[in-house]
Each structure stands twice: as C-alpha cells, then as structure tokens.
Amino acid sequence: MRYEAPETIEAAAALLAGASGEARVLAGGTDLLVQIRSDLIEPGLIVDIKKIGEMRQVTAENGGFRIGAAVTGAELKEHPLLKAMWPGVVEAANLIGSTQIQGRATMGGNLCNGSPAADSVPALIAAGALARIAGPKGRRDVPVEDIMLAPRKLSLTKGEIIASFLLPARTARSGDAYLRFIPRTEMDIAVVGCGVNLTLDGSGKCTAARVALGAVAERPLLVAEAARALIGSSLDDKALAALASAAEKACRPIDDKRGTKDFRIKVAGVLARRTALIAAERARKS
C-alpha cells in the first residue's frame, strides 16, 4: 500500500485522479483504518491530507467560518468562537465516537465515508453549509445535502476531495441544534439524527428554518416540508405536530439491528420536535 502526504490540495487531487487502482483519502483514519484492517477495502494508495494547511484551518469568512475538511472534532470544540455561533454543528461533530475518536475524526471524513448515519452531516445541512470541492478541474461549491447520494456513494468525481466547509454568518435571533437517538449513552451509531437551524423574529415567530434527518434514508435528508411546518409559526403545539408528521413522512429507513423502520419513523418525529425547541431556545437567547 502506497502512502503519500502531499502539501497542497492540487497535489492530492492529482494523486487521486492518477491512481490506477483504489485510492483513499486519509484524514482522521477512524473509518478508513477500520475498513482496511477488516479487509472491506484494499486501497493501493492512501493520500494523507493532514499536511495541507488550508484543510486544517478554521478561518473567519464573510461573518461565518470556513472550516478545513481535516479539522478534528476536538479542535472544533476548542475554537473560541465557533461553538458560540454554530453549537449544533460543533456538538454534532463531538458526538462521533469517543474522546479518542474526536481527537482524530474530521467532518470531511464523516461526510465522505458515506454513511447515512453520520452525525455531523444533518447539522451541516441544517446550517446551510457549503462544501468546497477541489479537483483536477478546479474548485466548486456544493451544498452539503448534495454530496452523499447513497451509502458509500458520493457525487464527487475521481480526483475530487472536499477542501473545506463554509458555515454562513449567523443571522440575528437564530440558533441550531442536533440530537440523535442511540441505544447506549455514548459510542454508538445514530439510529436517527436530526439537525434544525431556525430564525425567529421579534415576536417569536419562525421566519426561516432548515430541518435535516440522518440515518432514516439512504442518505441524510434536507426535509423542506418539515421546515415549512415551522416557518410562520410560533412553534406552538400545532406547528410542532406538523413538524413531527413531516419528519416522519420523509423517512424511508431500513430495519436493522439498531432499529426497526417503525421505530425510526416514530423517533424522527420525536427528535424533530425536541431539536426544534432547543434551536428555538438558542435563537431567543442569541
């Protein structure tokens, strides 16, 4: 297995584009190494992107933040300003695995590993995050909800990698949150994950919202109908019931050892309510 550690994105993209066999990006390695060691994949080339400066930085941009795709969850948590602006995203990234995993795992890897149950993805989608993709043909920006197509299948073409995520500026009176259901207290894969980002006006009415669900379909979902249930409402019981119903209807989950279809559908509605209320509480305080 060949190991390369390029120092620019262009070099990394060229290595990946030019690989004759299977090639994989190595960021935190918390999924890649497990897959290699269990013989799920046998890449001929591993491209370590941790020496690429721009992928390891968090920089302020247009009032928001550009987060390098190889910044770890632990680093996100320690950033002095990020958690205050986007607590849902930072908390979601820090629910992945354990302290040890968070010390290495990255949001770029969490997304590109292609699991519909990835924890940071619904929070990024709800935030309206844009993924900046770099490849042999240059760079392009894609909404995070358009990156994953199906389990282990991304919309990236050969040689393309995610360089960074742009979290937009926080509008006044808005807040985000992420909740997930897992059977244990820690260290588990989401049975349902829900990210909500919303804005309230002065009278407490919701003027904007984004609702995303993870682990209930073949990819994380941006649920427009769930957002519409909230927009124009004061998050009263009727609106929350409509939200839960829209969340349930959007699910197309599988039965597996972690949860049945019916259970996931029910929990999606429950979590949508709870997450929306936390986001609203944060919006009121912001």
Binding site: G29, G103, E186
Partner: protein, 163 residues
C-alpha cells in the same frame, strides 16, 4: 514498497523506526519499540485500551498509522510515572488507582490512565459526569467503572491541592 523511516518522540525520548504503510502506531509501539504497556483490545477504536496522546491529543493508537506519527510527540503509559535521581514516583492517578483498587486484570488500565491524565490536563476540576463521558471510550470488563471514576475524582482533588 520500501518501508517508511520515521522519527518521533516517545515519552520525551527521540525514537526512529521503520514501518510498513499498514502498520499502526500501536503495532510500532508494542512490536518495534517494545513498549507493551499500551494494549490492543479491539483494533477498531472502540475500546480505548490503546489510548496514547499524540502532540497532546488523546487518540487510539490502533487508528493512527506508524507513518503518521513522524515528527510528533507521543506519550504512553510508560511515561506517566516520573523517573528521577530519587527513583520512581507514580503519577497521582496511578497511586489513586492502587488505593481505590480501580483495576482487576489491568488490561484497560493503561488506556484509562492515559485518558484520565489527558482529561485532568484540560480540566482540573471535572464533575463526575464529565469524567464518565470523557472516559466513555475506555471500556472495562472487570471493575464496573465505579472505582475507576472514584480514583480519577480523588486524584483530581489531590492534584488541585498540590498543583
């Protein structure tokens, strides 16, 4: 493919080693460097028995490649006790683990100690809940965790006083 030639620091000492791409830092520590204090419990980043710190960051060494450790400072359980002209002095965490009987078979213990030390470096006054969540990635089949948590809380209290 030729092996990677890596130089790094382990517990303050300069080391160099050769490794294949697929060799993990855990493999290197145990099999190449002879530092068998760090244990393999699962090999998949779930149990935490292989915990070390990498440039001050708590990680599972089974999920780090040996080649990724180049130029980095690694701290393992072997570096926890102080070795000085007067002899060996156990870290307060190590002493408290003995006092509280916070280990039985001891296989999880190196990982728990490394993880706990990392916590107290970041947060000298953790609540019990914070300790439990921080150590969630360190599994123990023997003790039921209670004595581990008491030992960590007690060591933290002592370290806050002694500085």
């Amino acid at each position: 493919m030729a092996k990677h030639h890596v130089t790094a620091q382990v517990n303050g000492d300069s080391v160099e080693y050769l490794c294949e791409t697929e060799d993990t830092l855990l493999d290197v520590l145990r099999d190449t460097l002879g530092l068998t204090g760090t244990k393999e419990g699962c090999g998949s980043g779930d149990c935490g028995a292989c915990s070390v710190t990498l440039d001050g960051r708590l990680v599972c060494s089974c999920l780090v490649l040996g080649v990724e450790a180049g130029g980095k400072a690694i701290e393992t359980i072997e570096g926890m006790a102080k070795h000085g002209p007067g002899g060996e002095a156990l870290h307060p965490l190590q002493r408290k683990f003995l006092e509280h009987a916070a280990l039985q078979c001891g296989v999880c213990t190196p990982g728990v100690l490394v993880a706990a030390r990392s916590l107290l470096e970041k947060n000298p006054s953790p609540t019990e809940t914070e300790v439990r969540y921080w150590l969630a990635g360190n599994l123990c089949r023997c003790t039921g965790y209670d004595k581990i948590i008491r030992a960590v809380m007690d060591a933290a209290a002592e370290m806050r006083v002694s500085g």
